[in-house]
């Protein structure tokens, strides 16, 4: 079975599929057409990978966590309600799985780099080696507290509205604004010397 579709950004910042809609695909899956789920995977996989990679900082963990989130979403499709959009519904599951993965990783001793001096030194080396700007940004992002990292990624990388972020994270809008503000200040402090 093949499906064609068009995507557009909705007012909350999510890409919304209109032909067929995500909701229609969910209904097909619930009626037994498991391959319709492949269309949902194709539409949302890259966005989910990006979120997971930026939250977890490791591509292997990101792919594993995204797969876990999609499988859990598939199993829970029976509880998906059409009045809710699929993208934020899936993102909520993904963020919960990323939090679980982060928590587990901390317990297993795999923590983010949080030594400011080490980050600065690494950034300097990369710059001398040819300016690996993205690597510097990734290290600075990893140095943020988890709640600031999550808020910054959802706001500025995924460009979501605060109300949508609140629906995904369970945090209040004011708290999210404060987290983003602090994340921006912290990133600026970590990266300003490398930005020219």
């Amino acid at each position: 079975m093949t499906h064609s579709h068009v995507t557009r950004a909705d007012s909350a910042g999510f890409s919304t599929s209109v032909n067929p809609t995500d909701a229609a695909l969910v209904q097909r899956v619930l009626e037994g057409d498991v391959e319709s789920f492949a269309v949902l995977v194709e539409r949302h996989h890259e966005r989910c990978l990006r979120i997971a990679l930026r939250l977890l900082g490791n591509s292997e963990d990101a792919e594993e966590t995204v797969q876990d989130a999609f499988v859990r979403a598939y199993r829970a499709l029976g509880r998906y309600e059409e009045r809710e959009q699929f993208a934020p519904w899936l993102t909520r599951i993904l963020v919960n799985r990323c939090r679980t993965a982060m928590s587990r990783r901390v317990r297993h001793g795999k923590t983010f780099v949080d030594d400011e001096l080490a980050i600065a030194a690494a950034a300097t080396r990369d710059s001398a080696d040819g300016g690996m700007w993205r690597g510097e940004v990734e290290r600075a992002l990893a140095a943020l507290p988890a709640e600031q990292r999550e808020a910054f990624v959802l706001k500025h990388v995924e460009e979501l509205e605060y109300e949508a972020m609140a629906e995904i994270t369970g945090a209040g809008v004011s708290a999210l604004k404060m987290r983003v503000k602090r994340a921006r200040e912290r990133l600026r402090a970590l990266l300003e010397g490398e930005h020219d």
């Binding site: 499988v71 509880r79 901390v106 990388v157 994270t169 600026r188």
Partner: protein, 226 residues
């Protein structure tokens, strides 16, 4: 207080742009994912675990875990003797009996506006023969008359909220699990969203996400095992 929502500087715009790069969804990765989907049980309307569907169901960082609150401190100090008595009364095998101290503890919780208390896990009698790792059977008991559901999560079940639900008998939630020898962090999850540590167990050092989990050590002295 006003916040500026838009990226304000060229530096911040470059940060966001860099973080959008370097990620690609490949057909191979999507196919691996679909293989996992096809191997899963099909979804059923109205059914399915909702533990991951609640925003913030997994705590990013406990801003103020209730076990660190003044109310909980008072509760823990006041009820510790009753909790110990309850552990002894419950025993380690079979259904949870009526426990005289149970209502007393619940009443104290009502007074303190904290609806549950925790009873330390007790190593159970009876050997567990899985032929591989050495394990001991541990009974987890949690008093929460007002809870709709309770689960235990820990290193032994990958912190999966759906893996080990407790069953209720008059508000006393319990479950036996075979736990491998070793040290395990664990916690209880109430109604899929509130993580609660055991006040009568040692506490692990805090981590990035708030930490403060309870510590369970399973060894030769934990009870019956093999």
């Amino acid at each position: 207080m006003m916040y500026r929502d838009e990226m304000e500087t060229a530096l911040e715009a470059r940060i966001a742009s860099a973080l959008r790069e370097g990620v690609a969804s490949t057909p191979e990765a999507r196919e691996r994912l679909m293989r996992a989907i096809r191997a899963s049980a099909p979804p059923v309307r109205g059914a399915g675990d909702d533990a991951d569907l609640v925003a913030g169901a997994v705590p990013l960082r406990a801003a103020r875990p209730f076990w660190r609150s003044p109310a909980f401190g008072l509760l823990a100090a006041a009820s510790i003797a009753g909790v110990i008595a309850l552990v002894r009364a419950i025993g380690v095998e079979g259904p949870i009996p009526e426990v005289p101290g149970q209502q007393r503890i619940a009443a104290r919780q009502e007074t303190a506006r904290v609806p549950e208390s925790v009873v330390a896990p007790a190593a159970a009698a009876g050997n567990v023969a899985d032929g591989r790792a050495r394990v001991a059977r541990v009974q987890f008991v949690f008093v929460a008359p007002q809870a709709r559901r309770v689960a235990v999560v820990g290193d032994f079940n990958d912190w999966d909220v759906a893996a080990s639900p407790l069953t209720s008998s008059g508000g006393v939630w319990s479950r036996q699990l075979d736990v491998p020898f070793g040290r395990h962090d664990y916690a209880f999850v109430v109604d899929g969203e509130r993580w609660v540590r055991d006040p009568n167990a040692p506490q692990a050092p805090a981590d990035e996400f708030g930490g403060g989990y309870s510590v369970l050590v399973v060894n030769e002295n934990s009870g019956a095992h093999r």
